[in-house]
Symmetry: D3
Subunit: 277 residues, 6 copies
């Protein structure tokens, strides 16, 4: 049976920690590298519901996209939800591994899976290529087989992504035809400028706030679609799980993988405005 | 007829520029202090559609909540939407004045109007009182006349706010009873900690992103409601317009005021997730 | 008739904005890129007297060496002389364009014109060459046809520059012979070290203060001549105007140019010390 | 039986975390606040040998002077000695609590115990009093009953402290009489200036390096004694353990305390210079 | 005979080093505090010509206004003019003491002497009072006995100050009447704002450069007069020398003082612009 | 006879000042470059006892390893031991020159001499090679002819170094065999990580404090030996002196050199812990 160290090596081969942003915190968060690993759960967020799912299934390792501690901590006491998670994981011999911005920029990475989920076909290229390798980078640009109205693309994208209460929010004329599309999993406000410069028809991402979105729309340019942060990153989990299983199998190692279906988007319901047309 | 300088004095009496945050940019953005002012339009955002409304109505002054230039600019050339706005305003003798974080903390201020709009009654107190005057401050805490389920409060709040495509997003058990409620107009993520410490049942604000909202909900505490940024600040316009008109009248000065009904929220439509329950 | 955008393109071909220092603010300050431009006034400073001259002559564009807003502003209200200038220009359809440190380092640039004005002949080389092109750079080094006493060179330089109340101030033995000379238009204190290292006989520049000048003279080395900042940059205006007109003509475009003769040096008179010999 | 939360409250009553330096990391490092605590081990350093001692004795809590993570970490994986310690502690239900600079400045605190251990009698006052309470502070000044030669004081101090390989190093004339003495547990180089200003005869501390010590001795002033860092802080453990047991007993709570005798000074042996006299 | 330490004490009683700006470097620069001091030379600048004057007269101490090393040095080798000065002074037993911004803000200080020199009568108040004592501060505001035209005041000021080649430069209408006048010895550009706010008729100072002076004059307000930096500080030397001699005499100590007449302004000659009217 | 400038040139040929760290202060500290130099004293520290030795011997120059002013000073007044040293040196025509981190990284440099002194044979390579020349760098790695127990190596090292009161402190199992050894003269804590990465058996250096040493030993790896800072750098003096004399002789220049035998380690005696075994 593979050890945790073996699996970490396999994961870091595909998601090289050197690709992570300097402010990021990726890699092994807890666990003993000599422990044996058979079952691996993939999830977006390292939260209690995901740990419960791991416990119920008997996972030895959770691979998440988001770091538990993005900023350093000097305490893991069980006085916060993060410390409680660490206690639960260590007491139950469950390791935690994070692939965050190194998975974002990998080829294929988080935005490739998002692009396919919302219906883009053909080749995908990074929206903001890495300086040392244009095949890697943040976001992806791809195309629809044929132009469709913005509203239709939004409906298709909503069908392709896992369901969330808020669905997708759309800025721009619903009838404008769109075909060339940029997507970026997670918070995409830092990429608004490059999306405009790329001359795409739409930029689909998450966590857009009023000022960046409003100022972006004041200047003529791409339409915007804002989805749930969780929903834009979830499609990557299956890709990462599949790759890990098959790369391990190629080395004669058998691991079981599972993608968490726990919705960790915070927004559970909505309230509509009655008179909005 | 009053001059622009007279109106600025009146506005800054109620919204003292010294109350603004150090990073903010409030006060007169363009216009000649000696010009006469008769018609004043109040709006949340200094954008082209609002300028068109001002032109159509014959306004001499636009009072907005959001600054045109939050960070300094070295050019107002008509090569950006901001520069075009400046050209339009100056060429048409329309002045622009901003009351932003000084209006947020005023007593009454932006969050007082929001609190009343979503149905809070009785006295309101700042969520984060100003150091030098506990009557001023960011956000407001108030109460409903009686406890209601979270989902019901959210529906009532949606009815009280101006309609937007996205409506309200709600985090927390829809059935939990809520009565004591904090609200803060605009982006409220910096106030999540004080909202928790205040022990309220719900915190309603705008522009909440995945990580702050998700980590907030992992620790037991208040429910969260996220509305459109624009919608949370719009209720204040009528209050500010009314005050300016009556304070001026008390000095024998007649000004006409109007509240813009242009929806400047970027999100014009949504796409639902079909299978979300 | 050319548009403002055409003229900006022409100016930025000769004075590439990428050559400007990172702290500088160059390019179009106000004006509509689609406006037509026929008359262009060149001046050192964007001040009221220059705007009046532009108005009187019917200029469509003022090109200045100094930025109006070197540091960013969040207001162009007509409550400061800068805001009043913006209002005057926009209301009268006069654009404003700045070529500052990008004109200083251009080849030919501000210090080439200065060098010729004070009588230097033969080839001129940058005092501090640009890292990526040794033909560009700050300041110029050139030579007189034959050595002359410092005092005589100072008298000739005063004759070659536009007249100012303060004239030129000279540090060093008036009788020492000088031939190899460095000049730099505008404030030259940051170049004192390279002027010394270059081993020139004199360094002529502007805005030298007591401590840098005094410490420079304590170490044996070049003599110093301090002229009015305005006077050292004015000679460049004719060169820039001439170039723009002829480059435009070569494309079949006719523009009228004029060099402002308004003295914008602050010092209008002097008071002599009676007993200084 | 008391919970961990009860014991933390008791410890933080005596060693208030607000007294800690801003760069310090004190309080609970791991453990569940609702766990029951019966046996508490006190030690200077959170290292593997101390954890082994805790395991062997059946401790529920280790109280150390030094933080495990002085700077924040984003991983507690068992790939470093610190991560292995966290795993060992959590898997064996042993909590870890740190009282560091808050114990240094407490009254009585780390340097009080050190002062008594090296033979100082009579009242002790802080060497560097806290701004808000002169009874607290870093270091202590006290006196010997009568003046003795420096060498004799050093021998007595060596007898009073727990034994380490390096013993004490002494700077200054061995025969000079000393009576008024400053001590500071742990690294004392930041206090050299106040020790000089206090006019004491000797300053005993730890971790003094060549440059601070050498420059200090070049100026006439106090003699210096450098002991093992561990040895200067160990005397405090018994005081802290005794206080916790009696304060708990006063509330009807019984806890067992033990002071670790593991020497965690890194230096295990020495090599003498043969010809040093 | 007094020691250097005695004289330093006397000087620092009047010019308390705690009044100096945080970036300044005041006090004793070289010399042995136990050396005897009989002759004291006062000068503006610590330069070779002043050291020669001190040597020729047999001075034991030079008191200068300007620091030799405003920024710290790690070498006093005789490879720079500053190192050569240190070698000359130490080898000839001449000490060097600096009273800089502590003398600027003293009461009376540098600007009091300047104010009297240019003819101001009656009480003088600081232009920018110290936070802890409104009697101290930078610059002084005083008045002429009666209003005179600006040009006449400039002529009188030129007569009252020591002669320099450049004389005084004047900005503003020569005929405007002036009476209430601010002065500040040395570089005064940081005080332009307070001079405007003070509503004086003229601000006389030194080292004003084009941009601050030009922008100051664009807004209606005080006239400006720019004198030689050295000339504005020289009047203080006699005051400081007189005070030291009489304060010493009051303690029965006899010292000889002398004010250096060496002109250390860098500008030795000027070249006029022929056609300036 | 050579001038000081000649000797400085010779020294800087071998110890190029460009090799020094950016925070360091190397080169000539005082002295006149045109003075003649016949006798040169080499010492580790620029302190009074060394100046006395120089005076007694009639030295014209002292070459030290440690800077007198590592951080810049604005005063050399004889009110501190550093200022008194400057006065003594200048009044007695003794220059002072420092070769610090440029001597550390030179080839051969400080750690080469240390490596030979403690018995390493065969080729030596830098522990942390310089980026631009792998022959230079901090520390050296070398080998013993055959493995010996750690305690035996420590005894041999103590015999090879000049005697100090504290001798050597050793961390690690005294019986473990060691052969491949890293050494670094002076404070070596910044090199602990590279020493571990280099996989040596022992790292011998100076000024190691509790936390770095203790944390280093918690992770399995090299043993540590801590010697007196002074003792680790003293061996280099003879090498530098010998090189200077022979390089000068090769140019026909005769200089006398001497290595100071003054022990400038601060620790003059020790007190043993009686019961340490």
């Amino acid at each position: 049976m593979p050890t945790l160290a073996d699996i970490v090596t396999e994961l870091e081969t595909r998601y090289d920690p050197r690709w992570a942003e300097s402010w990021d915190a990726v890699g092994l968060v807890c666990g003993d590298p000599s422990a044996e690993v058979r079952r691996i759960l993939f999830a977006v967020d390292p939260v209690a519901a995901v740990a419960d799912e791991a416990l119920g299934w008997g996972a030895d390792l959770i691979v998440t996209h988001h770091p538990l501690y993005l900023r350093g901590t000097t305490s893991v006491a069980a006085t916060t939800f993060k410390g409680r998670l660490i206690h639960t994981l260590i007491k139950n011999d469950i390791a935690l591994f994070t692939a965050h911005t190194n998975a974002d920029v990998a080829d294929p990475g988080v935005s490739d899976a998002l692009a396919r989920a919302v219906g883009l076909t053909g080749p995908l290229v990074p929206l903001m290529p890495a300086a040392d390798d244009p095949g890697r980078g943040l976001g992806r640009i791809g195309s629809l087989p044929a132009p469709v109205p913005l509203a239709e693309f939004a409906r298709e994208a909503a069908r392709g992504l896992p369901a969330t209460a808020g669905g997708l929010r759309v800025a721009g004329d619903p009838g404008r035809p769109v075909q060339r599309i940029a997507v970026s999993g997670g918070s995409g406000d830092s990429l608004l400028g490059v999306a405009r410069a790329a001359g795409v028809d739409v930029f689909l991402t998450a966590d857009l706030r009023h000022h960046p979105a409003s100022e972006f729309m004041e200047a003529d340019g791409p339409a915007l679609i804002d989805a749930a942060h969780w929903a834009t990153e979830w499609p990557w989990l299956a890709d990462a799980a599949h790759h890990l299983a098959s790369a391990s199998a190629a080395r004669g190692i058998t691991v079981e993988t599972r993608v968490s279906e726990t919705v960790t988007d915070a927004w559970k319901t909505t309230a509509k405005c009655e008179d909005f047309t």
